[in-house]
């Protein structure tokens, strides 16, 4: 639709696009309050209409219709806009911790540590990209490999301790469901550790007897019981998701966010 431009003219075009966006901004601001909700509903519908039409429109011999070529550019635009949204989270985090530092609330020093970590890895990351040398690479790796990766793995491994406590509480619930759940969990765990496998190591891994080896039972539970049960749950999720998508697309969804006056 548009043609690429090079040289100094490019910046004029970019400034022109930004100026046009500014004009659109002021036009939008001039829209009366009563028309704002219908406008939001219209934009939701049109945005959804593209993918819905692309899906339902008959395709040619190449498996594509007139809308198909726009899928990739649209996906690229979505990724770019989503990337801009990251700042919302950073802003929210920064505002909470900047306030803590400014008012010197209890534990404000930890907020300083948070900012130090944030700037350290972001700056060294950018330096590594734009000024690649061994020094910048090593400093980035210090924060990434030494810091972030080890903190990440440790934080998730801590859950192991809390899972044990959760299992203990679950053991105390005496019902058929809890018994089935724990028996299944116990067999699956036993089948994945050497100690558990050693228990039935004397049973030959051939013929009918192989079905009594703990690792085979665990594998059978995972593939023959777990898979279909989760498949059924997945079907339910899919149908529910489709219904929710339809409500969103047609702006039928209700709630504090959707009912608020604009």
């Amino acid at each position: 639709m548009f043609r690429p431009v090079t040289g100094p003219t490019l910046w004029l075009y970019i400034l022109g696009a930004l100026a046009a966006s500014g004009v659109i901004f002021f036009v939008l601001q001039a829209i009366p309050s009563r028309l704002r909700k219908p406008l939001v509903a219209l934009i939701t519908f049109v945005a959804g209409l593209y993918y819905a039409t692309e899906f339902f429109w008959p395709v040619g011999a190449d498996g594509a219709n007139f809308l198909t070529p726009w899928i990739d550019p649209l996906a690229q635009m979505t990724q770019v806009l989503q990337a801009f949204a990251l700042g919302l989270g950073v802003y929210s985090l920064a505002s909470v911790h900047l306030r803590a530092v400014a008012r010197q609330r209890s534990g404000w020093g930890f907020s300083v540590v948070l900012f130090a970590g944030l700037f350290a890895i972001a700056l060294t990351g950018f330096l590594r990209e734009y000024r690649p040398n061994r020094f910048n690479e090593n400093v980035f790796n210090f924060f990434f490999v030494g810091g972030l990766q080890s903190l990440d793995a440790t934080m998730f491994s801590i859950i192991a301790f809390y899972i044990v406590s959760a299992a203990y509480r679950a053991f105390r619930v005496r019902s058929i469901e809890a018994t089935i759940l724990l028996t299944s969990a116990f067999v699956v765990m036993l089948g994945q550790v050497a100690l558990g496998q050693a228990l039935t190591n004397n049973i030959p891994n051939q013929q009918f007897a192989a079905n009594f080896r703990v690792e085979n039972i665990a594998n059978w539970i995972l593939t023959r019981v777990n898979s279909p049960a989760l498949l059924a749950v997945d079907f339910g999720l899919g149908i529910g998701g489709l219904a929710t998508a339809l409500r969103l697309w047609l702006s039928l969804e209700r709630g504090s966010y959707f009912d608020k006056e604009l």
Binding site: F84, G87, F110, A116, L118, A120, S184, A232
Partner: protein, 233 residues
Amino acid sequence: MFDFLTNPGAMRTANVWFAALCTLGLYSILYRENRFFRFFEHLFIGLATGYAVYTTWNDTLRPRWWDPMVAEGRWWWAFALPAGLLFYLIYSRKYSWMSRLIFAVFFGFAAGQAFQGFAAYYFPLVRSAINVPLVPAAGAAAAPGAYALTPMAGVLNNLLFLFIVISVMTYFFFSFEQKGPVAGVARMGRYLLMFAFGAIFGSTVMARMSLLIGRTDFLINDWIRQTVFRLPG
């Protein structure tokens, strides 16, 4: 002064010491809430956020937005900047309604993609679930010593597969009151769900345990043995 920063051996030692301190710092919560833990907890959040900022620019915005716009002259990508900035109007009392416009675009896209996603993901799933062979294949003799592969075992497993799918779906069917045999199938569905949840629970425990073993191995071998006592690995 900072020569060690270009020395691979020295940097490895620094990385291991830093990683060990981070690991011990987070594990200190297992004793009780303490300042050492809070320090590393905040450092973790800061590092994770900073890394997200770095990768968002480096992996998404630069190759997909900045470079096409500036290096390839596709000036129309400039419209993405004000569109992306619409998100931030949510913090403005006067203009916050405009942030709805960009959220509306995403709601619409997500809703439209749900049709495509449903067809692309769930149709093959339904097909794979109902298209399981229930009759033994003629002449498909079992290989010696491979009981699990015999046709009859496969048929029984497929029947079980279908039964589990149907009974679990029945359990989630709330459009009418479940009575008689339907209630029985639904109850069986609940028990089978517990079986599945137990399997997931067991797998999750094992995954977390393997992470724990990994960190313990790092502390004992990489840090204490090889870095503190300089013993061979």
